[in-house]
Structures are given as C-alpha cells and as structure tokens.
Amino acid sequence: MLLSLPALHLQTSEHHPFFQLPHGRLGPWCSPTGSPAPLSCETGCGEGSWILVCRLLVPTQVSLLSMEEDIDTRKINNSFLRDHSYATEADIISTVEFNHTGELLATGDKGGRVVIFQREQESKNQVHRRGEYNVYSTFQSHEPEFDYLKSLEIEEKINKIRWLPQQNAAYFLLSTNDKTVKLWKVSERDKRPEGYNLKDEEGRLRDPATITTLRVPVLRPMDLMVEATPRRVFANAHTYHINSISVNSDYETYMSADDLRINLWNFEITNQSFNIVDIKPANMEELTEVITAAEFHPHHCNTFVYSSSKGTIRLCDMRASALCDRHTKFFEEPEDPSNRSFFSEIISSISDVKFSHSGRYIMTRDYLTVKVWDLNMENRPIETYQVHDYLRSKLCSLYENDCIFDKFECVWNGSDSVIMTGSYNNFFRMFDRNTKRDVTLEASRENSKPRAILKPRKVCVGGKRRKDEISVDSLDFSKKILHTAWHPSENIIAVAATNNLYIFQDKVN
C-alpha cells in the first residue's frame, strides 16, 4: 500500500501535519540493560508468514515545494510514487535502523538526508493500520564537503545511523558519513509560549516605554512540530572512510571505525577522541588488511569486536591496554581447501559484524555466507548459513562487474533465534537457528500487494526450472538488498531496496 507522504521541505526544523500523540508516550524509558521483550509472535520464520505492511518511498530531492502546498504536494507525490523513474541517485537508502523500542525507524540516504518514520499507534477503529510507519521527521544530516587540503570531495552519503537509548522526551541518534559523525536531537514541540511582554505577536521588539501592564506568558497548544537539531559534530578524526559507529553500553562513549583506525569518543567532547585500534602499517606498502566493521558488546562496556577484509574477527578488551592493537580473542575459520580460488580472500572479507542481543554470539556476513560464532570458540563458527551459494561458480563474472565487493549487512531478531540478510534480485533471506529452516523472500513492487502474504522464492541452480523458480542467470544484480533491520521485540522488518523502504510484518493469526 502506498502511503501519501506529506510534503517535505528539507529543513532541520520541520512542521509536521497533525499527528496524534501516542498514548502514554512519556512513559517508562527503555531499560538499558533489560532483556528484550518476548516476541509478540513466537513462530519462527519458517512457519510464520510475512506480509507487506507498507512501502515507503523516500521523496525525491527535486521537491522544492513548501509546507503550505500540502494538497498539491500530495498529488505530485502520488504521481512520483507511481512513476519509479523520478527517483534520483541521492534517494538511494544507505542505512536503516530501528531505535531501541522499535517505535522509530531511521533511514539515511546517499544525499545525506535522514528520514525518521514513526509507528502508527493502535486505535480501536483502525486495528489493521497498526504496524504502519509514517514519516515523522526529515532533515539534512550531512552536506557534501570539499577538503581543500587534499582537493577531495567528501561524500554526504550516510554510512550508518545508530540510536541512543531514550533518556528523556527527546530522541538522539548518531549519523555518519565518510569523515564526520553527528549527534542529532529529535524533539517534539506542541506548545508555544504566548503573551510576551517585550515582544509582540510577530516577535518584534516592543518599545519598553509603551508597556503599561505586565502579564505572565502562557503556553498554548500548537500543531505538533518535530524538529531535529545537531547537538554535536565529531569531525577531523578520521583519515580514512568511516564504515561503522557503535554506541557503548555505558551510554557515555561511542566508537567510530574507519579502514585502519578505531576511535573512542565521549558524547560530550567533540574536539578530542582516543585512538584505540590502529592497524596502519609503518610502511603503507605493507598494507594487506583493512577494518571492515566494528561493534561494542551490548553489555560489557570494555569489550568490542572488529572484522577485517581477510575474514578475521578480533575481540578486544579496553582494560588490557590503552591501544587495543593486540586482541584478546582472534576468530578465524581455516580456509576450505576444496573451495580455494583466486577470489577466496575477497569472498571471505567480512562486510558486517553484529553481536547477538544476549552478547554471547557474534554474527558475521561475508560474500556468500552468514556465520554465527560463539565468543568462547575462536577456531571456527558454530553455524554457517549459505546465502546464495549458487554464485560460487560465477565469482569471476561478479569480480568483473564489481558485485563481488558488495557489502551486505546482517541482523538478528529480538530473541536471537532468527537471522536475516540480503541478496540480489531484491531477495532477502531468513535463517531460523533453531529449526534450521530458511526462507527467501522478495521485496519488490510487482510482487507485493499490501497485506498479501509474501511468497517464498527459490533460485534454481541447474537442470529443469520449475514454474515459480528463477534461474541464476536471470537474477538482476543491480537490485541488491544491502540494508535490513529487525524490530527489537516484534517480528517487523524493514528492507531497503534502492530508494524503497519495505516494511514487512509476521502475520498474526
């Protein structure tokens, strides 16, 4: 179902059309160390059926309409939604992240914008609308920059967004491009002070001589406004491209990782950061390995992991030394000699690493597989899932068209029982760790009617192709699902396919 999106004028402070405040919103905050809430739907991915809740199209950058033209904008937006060709490269979604309660869903795109969606609240009249996400706030997080010293343009593409746990009425998130991390505060304003003494209704200063009486300003309700303001800018700490950010469980620090270094920041201090990992060799000619992803342990604020382009994961303890160049644990699976090829290293390069919610396991994604590792066992993963093994014989072609360098992400569900990752042809895969069943689904306009159950897809690798199967050679490698997110406690997933954001929900019978 296509949602007509309200007009979006790209300012940090945004006027939002009437939005019903969720009931009891200023209620209990997300407990920092609480265990994830039990899943609303306990069926695994194999038994459950997934339905499309909504498809959200991030509005194109060409929209220059202001807020006053709501109705016209909706018309135009609708026509944009119908015609796919209006989407520009700047709208390609580059990161997706739920916040800690799952109420908010943030996306970042190549144009440096952040769009936050909010879950529609349950209402007795429209039960079926629960689970839909509507635009809550949009702001330009990063602008293209020019590094005058190196004569280089710095891309504004948002590489990662990470939410901070909510501690008051406002929401905070970190967003980063290749060089700069920013802390954004997203807050609501629904009251406006009226009755100033020194200012008149339009805000102009009054001549004090004309004031004869004094009054107390009062707060009057106003249309809800959601505004995003940059609270901190953490810049100039990375020579290379930032690929990861991770908020520490102490909620006071976070880390940012680039190709060769990892820095530790305090949220309050922007002009200083501590370098905790540095793998840059003295001689750049000896460089053979780069950092590809990094994450803090969800509960132990002294522990973090980082993955490398050689398929290794290192776990570090910050208590051991100030510079964590020496790892505490080293996770690497020995190479399978029967699968060796020229491309062994490239396909072993880890594109994403994620701790489980429990903190006991880490999951890594390389080009063809997803692996689950037990922190207590370093010599091999405990589980390996083949994402698209049919590509193993096509590696040379994929090397030629650079697809072999695509970086797929992976996610855990709230209870760590199911893992999900993307593939090509707008396919994404889910693996149930308990039942060992897996499913391939597709996020595409043609195949998804709202509320219709997604049909599992199958790729046929050779021989006779069945009716509903798709052959390997028909796969569209330009349609890749790199970014997905799973709601922290419910079976709701967000899947980004170029400039479309699909939200699927496990159907509750």
């Binding site: 190709d259 490239i346 697809c403």
Partner: protein
C-alpha cells in the same frame, strides 16, 4: 570499466574464459602449470585485476578495502603465473616484494605515482614471463626504468592488449613481435633506436593509447635533442 550489475546473457557467460580459471584453480593437483589454457585464463584475470587497480587508483580518494582486495588478488594471480614462464629465479622473488614495495606509497598523495611504477614493474614482469629470450638477461626488474614520468599509457597498453595477444597461446608470445608493445613503453626513456611503433596487428586496435605513448616518447626525444642541439645563445 565494465558496467556494474548488468545481467549477462547466458551465451555471453558461456563464452567467457574465466570459468576455466575457477576450474583450474580448484584442482591443485593439476600437473603442469605451464600449459597454455590455464595460463591464458590467468592472464586475462591478471589484466582484469590490473585494470581494476588502475581504475581504483584513478579515484580521487580510492576505496582502501577495494584496493587492498584487488592488490592481494593480483598477488595471488601473479604468484600463480610466475612459475608458468621460464624465468630465472632471481627476478621472480624480488618481483613480488618489489610489487609490494611499490604497492602503496607512504603518502597517499603519491599513490598514483608509485602505482604507475608498480604497473611498469608488472608490465615488465609480464614482458619477462612472456618473452624470456630478449629480456631474460636483464636481471632484476628495472625499477630505475620506472623513473620516467608516470606513464599510465603503459597500463592502457597492458590491459586491453594482452587479451588480444594470448589467443595463440604461450608459443605465440615468444615469436610474436607484439612484445614490442611492452618494450616500447618501458625502454623509451632509457634507450633510443627503438622500433618506433608496434608492428603488430592487434596493436593497431589500441591506436589512441599508442599515440599517447608515442607522444611521450617523442617528447622525451625532442627534449633530449633540443637540449643537445640548442647553441648557447646570447643572453638567457
């Protein structure tokens, strides 16, 4: 650069040699590495990797991960190709570290300059492996030769050209005058009296790039002769 993400038609894929690459590599017990078909496949993969490296370095700020992965793959391919030719042992081991040495300059700003010399080394090694007769006496790869201005023309010659050259197999390379394409660029600054241009057929395909390389050579010669011939004039 080949376009990303294009669906390949089935026929195109079947024509491609690279499938042979995987097959060959998968069988480590394969007796002879000097046989023509595996080396051919590796060479086109080699060229592809060099092209990718070149393209990656052309970016204003190269993606370090992409660069490192391509370079490591290139090393692997090179390692597999080196035994395929009758090389004197001396050049081969220093070849790999010299490749590595040239690999990534100490300063990022000098990256392309060092990569150019790296590429010249690679093309030199290619020349060594494919035409041991004329060049085998040269000894270790002449890094000094790379002292000329970064000649990206070398890569342009190297990349597309070798794909055409290897149709006849290894034997064709030894006899084929095509190797002059490598000589032309490599030795241009250091020696004179070279064959002015490639006499080979496939080389003509590369006309635009050759012109640039020829131009460089001509410029060097002109500058050299001008310096010699200009009489000391009044003033200046």
């Amino acid at each position: 650069m080949l376009s990303k993400g294009l669906k390949r038609k089935r026929e195109e894929e079947e024509e491609k040699e690279p499938l042979a690459v995987d097959a060959w590599w998968l069988d480590p017990g394969h007796a002879s590495v000097a046989q023509a078909p595996p080396a051919v496949a590796s060479s086109s993969l080699f060229d592809l990797s060099v092209l990718k490296l070149h393209h990656s370095l052309q970016q204003s700020e190269p993606d370090l991960r992409h660069l490192v992965l391509v370079v490591n793959t290139l090393r692997r391919i090179q390692a597999s190709m080196a035994p395929a030719a009758a090389l004197p042992p001396v050049p081969s081991p220093p070849a790999a570290p010299s490749v590595a040495d040239n690999l990534l300059a100490s300063s990022d700003a000098a990256l392309s300059a060092s990569m150019a010399s790296l590429l010249e080394d690679l093309s030199h090694i290619e020349g060594l492996s494919q035409a041991p007769q004329p060049l085998a006496d040269e000894g270790p790869p002449g890094r000094s030769i790379g002292g000329a201005a970064p000649s990206l023309g070398a890569l342009d010659l190297l990349g597309p050209a070798t794909g055409c050259l290897l149709d006849d197999g290894l034997e064709g390379l030894f006899e084929d005058i095509d190797t002059s394409m490598y000589d032309n660029e490599l030795w241009a600054p250091a020696s004179e009296g070279l064959k002015p241009g490639p006499e080979d057929g496939p080389g003509k395909v590369e006309a635009p790039e050759l012109d640039e390389a020829e131009l460089d050579y001509l410029m060097d010669v002109l500058v050299g002769t001008q310096a010699l011939e200009r009489p000391p004039g009044p003033g200046r």
